[in-house]
Symmetry: C3
């Protein structure tokens, strides 16, 4: 099934509007092209509604947010909802500052999201309404492990039920869940956490996948997560002893560019719980 | 002749002021260095006039524009005009939102540009005063082909006559024209559209070329377009089966860095119409 | 001793708050991860004090500054001082505009810096209170050479005494000095100036080193400078005849990622004056 999700991105080449942080924005644009979509970045309140209107999907990422872009996120999100365009939320650093937590919560209140993708600390912050995230990485104490997997799956499903969104919690084991079904995904490579922005890139790509597969948001999001993880594995296998995280960053985007539906079908490593 | 254009960039190392989008800004800086120029990025209204004054040329790119940076573009553009510094306009996404279209038109009214470089949909938007660009890529319906080439050359010359600028319309076939002469350029590789920002990079490089060759704006702009396309060809020939658009991005900048005037002379593929 | 500085970064993985320019921000984040630290970028005045509080060190870089981010720099810097977190200043382009010069001087007045890192023209601007920097590169007339090295060391020590900071003047020969001791460092490669942002990256990395080695700010800053220069040498040795500045950029970050304390110990090339 996941192979068809990727095929549909390649076939429909969805135009994705991104309001995203300036740290990883170039990588987000390039990975969107790599998977077959087309990116546009626009964050001024004077144009975001129009830009969202000419696009097919919207990706909102709160890294490096500011008062100007927060109002743009709200405007674009509401407009996308009116048009029935899928909207993805990446609550980067929710829990690390009141501004980020409150902005993420306000977005949740005022915009309907198709997918919410973050690390476990960020998602816990959204679910509980408060957080203690240390920076933009997940707290060690929060991590999803084989031991707490059932508990985390139940948490993801409950938050999916509460929000109506697909919840994608990514880390060593990824969980992608709606209220009823969870995909537990074991693709990826530990070195992916050595690159800034693999999460941001995945959120952008997830927007492309759910936009191209409007009737299957859960499977589309899970396919995007598998594709990103598989790209991390393929890219890692190319590294020489002198290559580090910068070359790895390029090879991951390259691997998405070269990934065929068949490769995704064979490489996807998941179970349904 | 084009080889001398590149030689002059390398000899004079022009300092180029860029007011540009945050998506591709790093690539713009690196390609400016690669071709022999020196970049500075500054977009605050409190400093843009001074920065432009210490520079030799100005590159204005309206991708990710906002109200703060729009006023900086106008201030810097007017100051550059007073100083007789060449100014390049890249009207990214003109036609995709009123803000972009109106900003591009206002810039055209208030600033004299040495070169206007965009895809065909963007340039058509500027020429007609309105547009329906879908995102930041050219509409398929607009594309320059062998069939409509004469018509498009006439259009470029007419818009060059109207604005007094060199018009660079880039795509599968590139047209670089002033009111009288058009270079039709067949360098480049289709995969260049798989990278975000090859257009932005070309605009930055064009600013360097016209700044280093003040008496030959048409030839300088055409040389920059040939150089970028040739870099795309050279870079493509290096790609392995595992490489994708991220590695390609790096190789294009690398190819500009390694390009000698002799290579540009031999590799430039154009006709004059 | 330098090897222990790097070891401590790897061991403590300090979280570094960066208020930095949008040109090189992605490289700053990736090199921080490469050296063993963890980056967070946040520049809105509503959150910078909180973000600095959850971090262990702060890196302030004034490239692409604007009125919104300047106030954030001041707020974050003061909060970091209250918390006794080391703060690094990178006065990008000080001397090129009044806004940059005045902002850098105001930061010096209101914030205590652990390290000030810039090229010689920027540092001279700060020391004299005015400047004539041409763009963001050092003036040729200012350069540190074997001939003026003793004079420049005395200048660095004097400015270190005046500010209470470690002064890092980087170029062909680097000087890292406090009021009493100066490290003169001969690592690095001339091609490093062909990449945008090696200075920005070094400042970010310096913040990580001084944060992880709170009792040795001078040695920590000198170790960071050696590590960056050594990475430039290692990366250069990997380049093929087709590689240019884009590949070089990646290889430098890769080299930091792969650098062991033992490699730094053997490769560091410095004398104490």
């Amino acid at each position: 099934m996941f192979e068809r999700m990727l095929e549909n991105v390649r076939k429909t080449c969805p135009l994705i509007h991104n309001i995203t942080n300036y740290v990883t924005v170039n990588d987000c644009a390039n990975i969107l092209i790599a998977c077959g979509a087309s990116p546009i970045m626009a964050d001024d309140r004077e144009e975001v509604e129009e830009i969202t209107t000419v696009c097919a999907g919207l990706n909102i990422n709160i890294g490096t947010l500011n008062s100007r872009t927060i109002s743009s996120m709200l405007l674009a999100g509401k407009r996308a909802n009116e048009l029935d365009h899928p909207v993805v939320l990446d609550p980067v650093g929710a829990g690390a500052s009141r501004l980020r937590t409150e902005t993420a919560l306000r977005l949740l209140e005022e915009v309907d999201f198709a997918v919410i993708r973050g690390n476990v600390s960020e998602i816990k912050t959204l679910a509980s309404g408060r957080g203690t995230t240390k920076g933009v990485d997940a707290d060690v104490a929060d991590r999803v492990t084989e031991e707490n997997l059932d508990e985390m799956v139940a948490f993801a499903k409950a938050f999916g039920a509460k929000t109506g969104a697909v919840i994608a919690i990514t880390g060593a084991i990824d969980i992608v869940a709606d209220r009823e079904t969870a995909y537990c995904i074991r693709n990826g490579h530990p070195m992916m956490s050595s690159i800034t922005g693999t999460g941001c890139q995945l959120s952008a790509m997830t927007a492309a996948f759910v936009t191209a597969n409007p009737d299957h948001p859960l499977e589309a999001a899970a396919a995007a997560v598998c594709a990103m993880g598989l790209a991390g594995q393929i890219a890692h296998s190319r590294l020489t002893e002198q290559d580090g995280n910068a070359t790895y960053r390029n090879y991951i985007i390259d691997a998405v560019y070269r990934m065929t539906p068949e490769m995704l079908k064979r490489g996807a490593n998941y179970e349904v719980r």
